[in-house]
Amino acid sequence: MISLQDIERIFPVGDEEVHALRAINMTITAGEYIAIMGPSGSGKSTLLNILGLLDQPNQGTYLLDQEKVSELDEDQQAEVRRHKIGFVFQFFHLVPRLTAAENIELPMTLAGIDSAERKERVAVALADFSLTNRGGHRADQLSGGQRQRVAIARAIIMEPKMILADEPTGNLDRAAGYEVIEILETLNSNGMTVIMVTHDPELGLRARRCIQMVDGRIIP
């Protein structure tokens, strides 16, 4: 499903250059459950951003479903993100003035889906994530675990093929973190590709495939 070939990502910082990714080659097949691990600054988030088309590589090719998505223009990439990729962030990134239901609804609202269908799908998602009686609460009135569940519901509401999670448990206590991982694993067992950055070796070991990064490289 995914193939990265000779990906390089270089950030100019002042007069210097930071080589965040060097010669990344990897393939990912549909339905995989991958943990990306490595020390701070090793390029995990940068890799995930490139996989999610939130950032462009300086060099190399990114094939997603046999399409050279690294060569698409911005709006075409947005279209790919909308339909194929769901994001879960460490800091949830819910829109604070919207309710839980409205946050879950947001991707469909942006996509121009009719209100009736949106409401229906949101109701199902709220039930699936045991959030039914929290739907009307604003994001800042929810606990961390609830917020991350809302974020995951939002990430999958457009039924993407893969979910990219950058330290999804980083801001949660053990119990809430464990709950979130279980949700992601359930999604994976239903066929969703899950790629997750984590610092927690225990969580990393649960994944079927673990990618170790050091200094911008994947170590075999």
Binding site: A78, E79, R82, H93, T109, G112
Partner: protein
Amino acid sequence: MQSQDIFRFSGKAIISYRFRTVLMLIAMAIGVASVVLLISLGESARRYITNQFSSLGTNLIIVLPGRSETVGGPPPLLGATPRDLTLDDAMALQRLAGVACVSPIVVGSAPVSRKQLEREVLVVGATADLATMRKLEVSQGSFLPRTDPSRGSAVCVLGSKLKVELFGNNNPLGQRVRIGDRRFRVIGVLSPMGVSLGDDIDETVTIPVASAQALFNTASLFRILVEATGSEAIAKAKENIRTTISQRHEGEDDITVITQDAILATFDRIFRALTLAVGGIAAISLVVAGIMIMNVMLVAVSNRRTEVGLLKALGAPRSQIMRIFLTESALLSVTGALLGLLVAILGLQLLSFLLPNFPIQPVPWAALLAFTVALATGLLFGVLPARTAARLAAAEALARR
């Protein structure tokens, strides 16, 4: 994204940033209110002046002795004073094509007395036609009789205030008053008119023109009022008047002919220009409001970087993010404009309450103009912040570093 969803999304953002919103609404409201108020005041003043002139009578032509316009050519010979206008000149005009009626006017000041009451008043010598030309109405009796203008008679018509001063509530008709050293019989009282172009008609006394000439011991006229048969006849009548008088004055073009519509047009132009100038100055405050919108929206965009990054991650293309932020600034400016219109209407109502004699009217086109300008400002100054938002790099916007 469907447009009602954009409005809802932007509306929620506006409501949730209360302080910012109130600030911008105030700025916009002040701008729009001052434009509408000032333009409305200017327009009302213009209409007031125009009405004052039309109350003089329509199609009016005023003939003055002496030439006041400079048309080039050699200066008059030393000591060549312009000839006076006479009653015969006025009667000659009566027969011209395009002239409906003519009223020769003599004006002077004389003591008017009845018993022990005496006042110095403005005495107007005129003919019966003056009443039609200046739209004068009598509340009692009648105006000057239609007789040969060159023959005087000892009758007079009192202005309404003068009547009260001399007679109180008594009936003055048939009573006698003394004007200068002559006695006149009161045959009518004018309806109250108020001040028209500086003359308080209510305080004058009107007598036949020949009597006024005798009273002031003069053969010349103060001016001649001519009414043209219609607005299209004004130009022709004006020319005929010039040639006739110049023939009668041995070829000298020594009069000034003023048409009412020319005066009116001049005042109209001056007031339009003034109104636009004042409105333009007020429009600067709209621009200031626009710059405020730009500033505040720029701050909003940088405060909501992660939100923009999120929208991008969720698949919003640049154009959609632009639209969301533009809608936000447009909503702000339009709401501000509506508030401003409300303030302007209330202000105009307060003013017309305070100044009941000055007819103040809101000007619809000013409201429309201010509204359009407000919307345009909101959109124009919203473009830069919206573009900034649309161009944010998604990965950076979402990162917390």
